[in-house]
Amino acid sequence: MTRIVVGHLYPDYLNIYADRGNIAVLARRAAWRGHELDVRPISVGDDVIAGENDLLYIGGGQDREQALVAPDLAAKGAGIEAAVEGGAALLAVCGGYQLLGRGYRVGGGAELPGVGLFPHVTVAGERRMIGDVLLECELEPGERRTLAGFENHAGRTRLDVAAEPLGRVVAGFGNDGVSAHEGCRVGRAIGTYLHGPLLPRNPWLADWLLRQALAHRLGGEPPELEPLPDEHERRAHEVSAGRARARGGRYS
């Protein structure tokens, strides 16, 4: 049994799209393989100490909550970057994904400071991009997988030219609605607009994150995990992917 330490950033502020669902999936899938997930909240005023967390999680919030935590998160930037450079895994969803870039210019022109972990900048657009999304990803060479989720964001996120997106948009908007890019990947860090929540209906990504976190804890290559009966997960994924193909996103 391995204890996997998860640092959950601002669970009391950034939890708008059922982020606790993602944590529940990581915890159960770890437990079913005999591991224990030790989830520790990291809130305003707490430090992120590199090496302590095997996985960092940051969710999304409404504009008001995002603005409340942005300055504190920027102050944690060096700790977060050091953690990811040291091999910790990270999942950032929606608002958390935006704030881990270089900055977010919100509606009205105010600028929220960013962390600079992901090579992107975000600018709020006039209309929100809302709807079901389907992506095609290749996190490991030769392993093509799909991610199905839901997006709801006003921010347009532009990746630097050399940046690696999380996936290619099959249906929906993605980062900016024009580039066909969605999310961003830096080493073991993943940022994405997809909620729904993301992990229940995309268990392969949950397992990928757990493997990276185990590699950080144990050293060496990410270990293989015992496959699980994912019948309900497959059905939920199919329905969600079908929704994205059939009705995609809309501007609002």
Binding site: V25, R28, D63, P197, P200, A236, R243
Partner: protein, 459 residues
Amino acid sequence: MAALRIPLSLEVAAARAAARLSRLARTGGGTTVPGKLLWKLDPGAIDRLAARLPLGSALVSATNGKTTTASMVAEILEPRLRLAHNAAGANLVSGVASALLARPEAELGLFEVDEAALPEVARRVKPRALCLGNLFRDQLDRYGELELVAERWRTVAAELGGGTTLVLNGDDPQIGALVGDARRAVVFGIDDPRHARPSLEHAADSKYCIACGTPYEYRASYVGHLGDYRCPRCGHARPDLEVSATAIELHGLEGAAFVLITPDGTRGIELRLPGLYNVYNALAAASLARELGASLDEIAVGLGRFRAAFGRFERIAIEDRSLLVLLIKNPAGANEVVRTLVAGGAPRLALIALNDAIADGRDVSWIWDVDFEPLLPSLERLVVSGDRAAELALRFKYAGFDPAAIDVLPSLDDALDHGLALTPSGGELAVLPTYTAMLGLRALVTERGYARPYWERAA
């Protein structure tokens, strides 16, 4: 451009004919068809119809409880007044227009209004009273962020001016703060810390001071973020209550009782509806009815007589079994449904149905914010249904419920048959549907002859 002005009476006749056609065509209750037509013919006609009401109009809006609250007010006032009331829950501009058309002899308009439609309806109807019950996160894909709805409500409150009394739930920080915008306001809330929750629930939304962003301190939190709050930094706090509920007794699934305190005196209130959230609905209804001229006796009698609005804690007998239908539509509301079910003896079997049509919210992530966990210890079998049934299966699987005890039946027809077959003779099946799933289930039991169509019920 000069427009040909069609006389209001002709428009009204055409719209009423459309309602009859809609019912004949069996496409629905005809609850919004005439209003939609009138809206198309002449949007200003709604303003004129509302202006004809001799006693004016009252509006009720809230994330949760607006249908129940408005129906309670109707129950209190109906013995004495002829009401135009959108009782079937059609609560957009077209639904209000339809209710106005359906009752030309009405003296008072009583309308529940969708949160997002409130600015438009308020501008047209110019209500004498506006009752605002609560604001929770709800269908973010449709309404946008909570803050956006709150901002629109602030604008409405500021625009309405001195002719409108605001009836406000002071226990909700966003709504309590509107006191400052109103020339005249009635503030209601709960004063009974015995019923406070040990901590704020996960779905609490407005938990940071609206003035300075500091987390509120709660002397008591009752439902979601509703309660007796105070900011430790700047002192922003719940306003003084003019109408309040105290000495609350909750009787499981069967009802609730409380003492209503008003400036005119106090009354014991007996409700046939369960749960603290229905105490909030009754408080809102009592405060609004009082503002509309009801006496304390009328309020106590009306509330005591009131039975559930359709789909909200509705019992439907099906031969020797029954359905207990509890609408769920967002985390705060669903949490109260769960809490009430558990208080009445948690069920061993439940049917939960999740759809993702526009009226349900296309984004189903909210089910992960609901605290379903209190149901788990006694739950033995779960039937999940609706277009997103598999998503519900995952919600319970990852809460620790045995996936082998979950039956995934997306068709409501199949799920209802299966759920009833699993229910012992003489037993009751708890059914928790989202809005369109509830309409679908009601249509099924109506087709089978066990319930009356909702448009007949409202009459």
